[in-house]
Symmetry: C2
């Protein structure tokens, strides 16, 4: 047994989260793509059968009340809340991340312009390296609120902020590089100029502590199908902090966000609280699969998850350094812990081809255009032996 | 056996669609709420198990390609297309009805304003009696496009149209009264002033022929959980006719509608065709439950569905007239076939209480604020004996 394999075995034996792997349906594949689609939690299939056969099939329309369907978006939001450092009543689940970015950014601009007197805020800043949908939706939000959209690199945000800034859309962890940004510092900088911060948590929630309340974040959105394992295309969530809820003026005032949805009133009066972020009828089957998936978090400490995440990515880098010839790949992810999310991105000019070969050998990561091999580490089910095998297989797979 | 019960038995025996009932999971309840939540089609639970256990659980990320997840919104759209009289390539599934109303109305205003020269179109007309969410969303679409929203009763639409009209949002069938509106005539009237028509098909699709292509409808939206039986909160659909697709300028340009979604381009370039109506990652579990649910339409002629729908509602009215004392309820639904959808709405001052009592006796309809008893007739699984029983039970239930 190689030295690194022995070390992996020791690390697995000492891992306080090791038993959590049994909460998922897994095989002998090393699955390092949980930052794209989380693995299937063990209880989901059974729960969904009950939802379909009994709640829909037998109770039918009565389930909106009797099975708690109607209030599921806010109830499940409250289950996500502790994972992102939010007190109850501030997170609501529904719609896609893209749709939630639209809600949040338009609402952010409207909030920033309130009572601002002489200052005309007409600029939205967006991370220029963001996952594209955030940029596309930000462009539309800017167009529809009469703002200009200004893409800037995250490190340039502080200098770009000013009295014209209405809202800033930032990523907590970059989808390609895995870089973790300074959420407290950037939020404070945005607030210092009177603007509103919107954070995209897609690549951080479930992998590391987010602490939205503690850092005074205004609005945040995130998906639930990556580190939260909610299933393919599981509904996204929207966080609106308590202090802004009364001022949250949504561009998508669907009937589910009405104070009296079954009153069938011709005029729109928004509900109080996180419910204000709802729009139309929620996709119940996807939503309740997510609900069941969240059971895996029972008793899990997100700080322990973060410790394991860093240990896994450190160990992966150690194994890559040992197994892969120097210069064969370039690590794009920051080495400093405080700047690292829960993935390692390696640059290789033939990354697409390398990832196909790796997948064929049972190590699944993904490829991000044009040249990035992306390896996501979900601490709930990835172990150190998996990590060693991934690096070893990578070394065997790389073209000579 | 009463005369009407004998008649019901004869009608059921002669019903060419009677066998379709076996395609659903039903019990001895008379389910007249399929216009709110359609009953469970027989194959859905099994299909969803396969999606969860094999496609998500075993194939995981590979299912986006290998299980056809990525293209499901347009593929399933093409399965709905024949039910609304649309040639392939014009319907895409995803998001809620409310979100699709927003996309369609904003896009409609933008189309109407193109190349219009001197005419400033700054008004959106909306059915004043619409299901509330359409009105709320129309208000937001108006606000964000610099239009005024003008609610008018459907019969007043022709007179209200003018050179300032940008877009008109109409219901094919009214959710409360069950009134069927003149889609061809109103569409032609909207076109005559150079405006764009958006139709809400929630209460017509699956119950009667819609014929979008034949009548030159511009844009349409609809839900899939009523007469299409797609499951609770199943994703809605958006129709954009071929001739307008190049000009469809969406307010929600999510990455799923990009011409090259995995190119990760910073700039947005929309895809051609119905795909342009997509936004973010689709909620796959809800979407594929709908896919399975659409199997019940195999070999079904929508004209035959319409014939049975009218026969059922005629027979219900006949039974109500016989069993219920004159004046005890008032029928809100038009008697003329050309003005009737697939429901009967009866007004009663204690409608909420009456519906609770009916439900307790195994006849499930619903109550719409403030005084409407709503009975929806889904021709695929409701029979004439069910209909007789519903009217008889209603008579027994009404307060003396």
């Amino acid at each position: 047994m190689s030295e690194l394999l022995s070390k992996a075995t020791e690390l697995d034996a000492a891992d306080p989260l090791a038993a959590l792997r049994s909460r998922f349906v897994l095989d002998d594949v090393v699955y390092l793509d949980g930052n794209s689609l989380g693995a299937l939690p063990a209880g989901v299939a059974e729960r969904l059968q009950d939802v379909v056969r009994r709640e829909w099939g037998e109770l039918r329309i009565r389930s909106w009340d009797e099975s708690g369907w109607w209030t599921a978006p806010e109830r499940i939001g409250d289950r996500i809340a502790p994972l992102v450092g939010a007190a109850p009543g501030q997170v609501v689940v529904g719609d896609s991340t893209s749709v939630n970015v639209f809600k949040a950014l338009v609402a952010a601009v409207r909030i920033a312009r309130e009572g601002d007197g002489a200052v005309e805020r007409d600029e939205i800043l967006v991370d220029a390296t963001t996952f594209p949908t955030d940029g596309y939706i930000a462009e539309s939000a800017a167009r529809m609120t009469g703002c200009a959209l200004r893409p800037v690199r995250p490190e340039e945000v502080p200098a770009a902020l000013g009295p014209r800034t209405a809202a800033v859309l930032l990523n907590h962890v970059d989808y390609r590089s895995g870089r973790l940004f300074d959420l407290p510092g950037l939020t404070a900088a945005v607030h210092a100029v009177g603007a509103v911060a919107v954070w995209d948590l897609c690549h951080s929630a479930g992998a590391l502590p987010v602490e939205l309340d503690a850092h005074g974040v205004d609005l945040a959105v995130g998906c639930t199908y990556k580190f939260l394992n909610g299933g393919p295309g599981a509904p996204a969530y929207l966080y609106v902090r308590h202090g802004l809820q009364e001022r949250f003026d949504t561009p998508l005032p669907g009937w589910n966000s009405h104070v009296e949805p079954f009153g069938m009133r011709p005029g729109y009066t928004p509900a109080a609280g996180a419910v204000r972020g709802r729009v139309g009828t929620p996709e119940i089957l996807s939503l309740l699969a997510l609900d069941a998936a969240l059971d895996v978090w029972e008793g899990v400490d997100i700080a322990a998850v973060r410790r394991k995440s860093l240990a896994l990515t450190d160990f992966f880098l150690e194994c890559v350094a040992r197994y892969v010839p120097e210069g064969a790949v370039e690590c794009v992810t920051p080495l400093a812990h405080e700047e690292r999310g829960s993935q390692i991105a390696l640059r290789h000019e033939r990354a697409g081809e390398v990832m196909r070969a790796l997948t064929a050998r049972g190590v699944v990561g993904d490829f991000r255009h044009p040249d990035v091999l992306r390896f996501g580490f979900t601490p709930l089910y990835v172990g150190f032996a998996d990590t060693e095998r991934a690096a070893r297989t990578l070394a065997e797979t790389l073209p000579a």
